[in-house]
Amino acid sequence: MTQRGHVLDDSWYLDYAAGTLGTEAQDVMMASHVELSDEARGRVAALETLGGAMLDASDGEAPLGFSVEDILRRAGGEAEEDLTAAPATAAPAADDSLCLPQALQDYLARTGTPVRWGFLGPGMRKAILWRGEHGERLWLLRAQPGVAIPHHGHNGSELTLVLKGSFWDGEQEYRPGDVEEAHPGVEHDIRIDEGGECICLALTEGKLKFESPVLRAFQVFTGL
């Protein structure tokens, strides 16, 4: 199910803006989406405004274990580098042709995760970036123009964010910044647009479920 502009259900933006997403992979997925989609950025900005109003309304009665002079001393005594900023991305520069959003590049640099492409199917390659303890996978899909991913369902939910190019699910086109949320039990028929290669960031919770026994056997080899 998708909404206008191919954004997610508002509960995703609330969890992201409130800082309550379940995993780092979800943080990375949402931060990448917000970076690429104006609509998503607007929703998060509105919610963060609310977060600011609530921070401002927090009653701070308990005495602090430090003073402002402690902070100013630390500020003066240390080099001008930011403690809480993301590490500079001096790490292996990601391949520019992949169009990876900064949030994803930062994650790869921070965790030392390489992008290693493997065979997924005819005209398709995948790079698994992270596997969770409950079967979740954060991965990149790179597909050639016109490739079709035949009729399939999902055992768990899946978020697919377009980074480059576009794909079609039925009559709906998904472009960079757009994200599709697939729910268990909903069938999909994906076709990569003819105009160019398509790269997507996906966060998958269960295995894909293909109808065809041949494709099911195929899954054994591809690990999806």
């Binding site: 609330l14 963060e48 609310l50 109003a53 609530m54 430090f66 100013l72």
Partner: protein
């Protein structure tokens, strides 16, 4: 006091705080920073405590956040966000970063019940608390109680929408639709809070 005076006061207060933050950014003004500290440090600490951070850790993280404010103040843009919003995102990120690091280092399970909300006040108490907070957050004041409560639990207690469903003993779909309704309303009336 009427809600209108309340709102006017908080808007002029917001302008003062934004001005202080800009002074820190432009001139490294320690005096302006002290005023910001007096306003925000206790609030940041209290915000973290409500998210079930220990008081020692809340002190540490609050210091990190205040230091980050000092260092990054020049990137603050009053046209884009209020001082409170800008500082909120720094505090939120410092908390998440700390939590994610702990997960990676100790290999703690993010779904572990130990990390679920411990205290579970009855829904009635929660509605009363939401009522008490009404005057201070103008952006929320036009919302029905049930929608406002969901947003308050998310931001003040740091509960995800599925944790909120558990806490209020509501179906997930009900919480999602309250979030959707609340956000539709806020989109119409949030302009002046930016």
């Amino acid at each position: 006091m009427t809600q209108d005076t309340d709102r006017r006061r908080s808007i002029s207060d917001a302008a003062r705080l934004a001005g202080l933050l800009e002074q820190v950014g432009r001139k490294r003004d320690a005096q302006a920073f002290r005023a910001l500290f007096d306003h925000f440090a206790p609030r940041i600490r209290s915000f973290l405590m409500k998210r079930r951070v220990s008081s020692a850790l809340a002190d540490d993280l609050t210091q990190d956040v205040m230091l980050a404010i000092w260092r990054r103040a020049s990137s603050f843009d009053a046209a884009k966000a209020s001082a409170a919003t800008w500082i909120y995102t720094i505090a939120r990120n410092a908390h998440i970063d700390h939590y994610r690091k702990a997960v990676r280092a100790r290999k703690i399970d993010e779904h572990d019940p130990h990390f679920q909300p411990p205290d579970q006040p009855l829904p009635d108490d929660l509605y009363e608390r939401a009522e008490a907070g009404q005057s201070v957050t103008g952006a929320l004041s036009g919302l029905p109680d049930d929608q406002r409560l969901v947003l308050e639990l998310a931001f003040t207690e740091g509960l995800s929408h599925s944790e909120i469903a558990e806490r209020l003993d509501l179906p997930l779909g009900t919480v999602k639709s309250r979030v959707r309704l609340a956000m539709n309303k806020m989109r119409q009336g949030l302009g002046e809070w930016k």
